[in-house]
């Protein structure tokens, strides 16, 4: 009984066949990995992400210059100038080095914020959609309060009381983003709740928890991964927005969002100050999307190339 219930109905394959054999279950995982690896874009995405992670970890060795080192005599060097592959900013600091070191903070912020928001939001969304009733009302009102609440007031208040720091930025952004996931998951749950498969699972005695996490949640994966990938860009850009108002990452710390801010005043004079951080953010989002798509494709056996 338990074995049958434990098998995820992800993909809702109706061709049951050989459902409860343990051998079958292991090969599913291996099949998924193989499918993922065969997907060229997924591999590309993973490679790009790994490159960024490597940059983040080994920044001290990879970066050609100290990201904080100013050269007030040589500001606004264009890309390709001697010693500065991507040019320098208004303080004469090397942009490439700042990008490399910046990956540390931006990656962390993006991933942490989205993880907090996704985990918190999805859980609440699941509970809300599945149980309905009072829980639904309560959670949805919470969603409304948090989502309708002016994010900036929350940000200012948190920063004022706890002090402006990158950790508090992550906290604030996490608090602001979870409603998105809650609503998304809830809407999926509402649809799936009535399907025969869930009813069948219930009939076989699956616990509610199992149903929610093993059966329903995986079906939300595609929407979730897309949203999460986009959210990471959003989180980095939100950090920039907060930086505009003096909340969050402190100068001279290199952070992609802050680099965008600093470059804004020089859009006409030195566009490379904005272009490169922008491209970096784009590449991260691209890679995450590839990975997300790859994951989804790999786990859904209907889609075979």
């Amino acid at each position: 009984m338990t074995k049958r219930c434990g098998r995820s109905l992800f993909g809702r394959r109706s061709r049951g066949g050989g459902s409860s054999e343990p051998g079958r279950r292991i090969s599913l995982r291996r099949r998924a990995i193989r499918a993922f690896v065969r997907n060229r874009m997924a591999v590309l995405g993973t490679t790009m992400l790994l490159a960024f992670v490597v940059c983040a970890i080994f920044a001290d060795y990879i970066a050609p210059h100290d990201p904080l080192e100013m050269d007030l005599m040589k500001p606004f060097q264009g890309p390709g100038s001697p010693g500065h592959l991507l040019g320098t900013d208004n303080f004469g600091r090397d942009i490439l080095s700042r990008l490399i070191f910046g990956s540390r903070i931006s990656l962390t912020v993006g991933l942490v914020v989205v993880s907090i928001a996704a985990v918190l939001g999805s859980t609440l969304g699941l509970l809300s959609g599945y149980y309905g009733g009072a829980i639904d009302i309560l959670v949805m009102r919470l969603v409304e309060i948090f989502a309708a609440f002016p994010f900036l007031i929350l940000a200012v208040a948190v920063m004022a009381v706890l002090g402006p720091s990158i950790y508090n930025v992550m906290l604030v952004l996490g608090l602001v983003n979870w409603p998105i996931y809650a609503r998304l998951v809830r809407s999926q749950v509402l649809t799936l709740r009535e399907t025969p498969f869930v009813e069948a699972a219930k009939a076989t005695g699956c616990s509610n928890r199992r149903i929610m996490f093993l059966h329903i949640l995986p079906n939300c994966t595609s929407s979730l991964t897309v949203t999460m990938a986009m959210s990471i860009a959003g989180a980095i850009l939100s950090t920039a927005a907060l930086g505009f108002l003096g909340l969050g990452v402190q100068p001279p710390t290199p952070e992609w969002g802050m680099m965008l801010n600093e470059g804004k005043d020089f859009l006409r004079r030195a566009p490379h100050m904005i272009t490169y951080p922008g491209v970096a953010i784009m590449l991260i989002v691209l890679s995450l999307n590839f990975i997300g798509d790859g994951l989804r494709d790999a786990l859904d056996p209907h889609i075979r190339s």
């Binding site: 809702r12 109706s14 874009m41 309905g132 009733g133 009302i137 949805m140 009102r141 409304e144 309060i145 989502a147 309708a148 609440f149 002016p150 900036l152 007031i153 929350l154 200012v156 208040a157 004022a160 009381v161 409603p179 998105i180 609503r183 998304l184 809407s187 999926q188 509402l190 649809t191 009535e194 079906n219 595609s222 929407s223 991964t225 897309v226 949203t227 990938a229 986009m230 860009a233 959003g234 850009l237 920039a240 927005a241 108002l245 965008l260 804004k264 859009l267 904005i274 922008g278 953010i281 784009m282 989002v285 691209l286 999307n289 798509d293 989804r296 859904d300 209907h302 889609i303 190339s305």
Partner: protein, 315 residues
């Protein structure tokens, strides 16, 4: 359905009250006082600071101030801005229509782009069209709005001079006046949104196409197009509508950066400046307006679910 609607509306009232209360409390906990800020930025002289503080009851305990605020609200008196001494009701009345216009037009643009692109992307998976739209989406979402906005201004406003650089168009000045002023701001706000919605549509359509009732429909011999539009899209659209609804809610709060770059007189800028200056009366009303808009949109979206997918029921 009617009882559900009434119930939702009634429940919204405590939500709204809750928001105003939390806003009030948070602002009071946060250091910063509008008169002192004006003092420090030389908008008032030290001699006057005391007089202003007393006039706006800023020295009274918070519950007195909150009570006063609620009482005035009941009477329809929205108050006066501390920093500019202008009537708040008039300010909001001037700006709210602009914000609503921009929000809806951006959302419309985003959906017009996203839905077809997403569907095509899903039905032609892994084709050039798919990758092209993916890359375009990434650009859309990773570009900060001020960058995109300024680039659009530089190209269409300065280099080619085909579109206006600032302000809201008025229908009384002609249709082109109205539309031309809307294009660039909506494009700026809508691009990132379109990207997200396109990807969501694609993912959702792909998801739905694997389901059994689709196989059944195909097996029944229905044309692919009917399968797609009548059956698949209906369900695929739900997460997209969810996201769109939530985003519309945010858009109605006003997009500060877009409003600033295109000189669009909306609520966003008003609110942000009020927060920085701690202009409490303005913040309170602005927040309330935003919250109401949000609650309405949420309600509409939930109702829309039932229309799209009759299986969804609210107990």
């Amino acid at each position: 359905m009617l009882t559900y609607l009434v119930r939702r509306i009634l429940i919204s009232i405590p939500v709204l009250l809750g928001i105003t209360f939390i806003t009030f409390a948070l602002l009071h906990l946060t250091p910063g006082d509008p008169v002192r800020i004006m003092l420090a930025t030389e908008q008032v002289t030290p001699e006057v600071a005391e007089r202003l503080t007393e006039f706006y009851s800023l020295d009274k305990p918070w519950y007195v101030q909150y009570g006063r605020y609620l009482g005035n609200l009941m009477r329809g008196d929205l108050g006066v801005s501390i920093t500019s001494r202008t009537d708040i009701a008039a300010s909001i009345a001037n700006r709210l229509p602009n914000t609503i216009l921009l929000a809806f037009s951006s959302m419309l643009l985003a959906l017009l782009i996203a839905l077809p692109v997403g569907v095509i992307s899903a039905t032609h998976r892994n084709s050039i069209a798919d990758y092209a739209s993916l890359t375009a989406s990434m650009i859309g979402v990773s570009m900060p709005s001020f960058w995109l906005g300024l680039l659009l201004l530089l190209q269409f406003g300065l280099a080619w001079k085909v579109l206006p650089i600032w302000g809201v168009g008025r229908l009384s000045n002609g249709l082109w006046d109205f539309i031309s002023h809307l294009i660039l701001p909506s494009l700026t706000m809508g691009t990132g949104l379109a990207a997200l919605l396109a990807r969501l549509t694609r993912a959702s359509v792909l998801e739905v196409l694997t389901q059994d009732y689709i196989r059944t429909a195909r097996a029944k011999g229905l044309k692919e197009r009917i399968v797609l539009y009548r059956h698949a899209l209906r369900n695929a659209i739900i997460p997209v509508i969810t996201a769109a609804g939530l985003q519309l809610g945010y858009l109605l709060g006003g997009a500060v950066i877009v409003e600033s770059i295109f000189s669009w007189p909306g609520l966003g800028r008003l609110t942000i400046q009020a927060i920085q200056k701690r202009d409490l009366p303005v913040i309170q009303i602005s927040t309330l307006v935003f919250a109401i808009a949000f609650v309405i949109v949420t309600l509409l979206v939930d109702v829309l679910y039932t229309v799209i997918d009759p299986r969804i029921r609210y107990d």
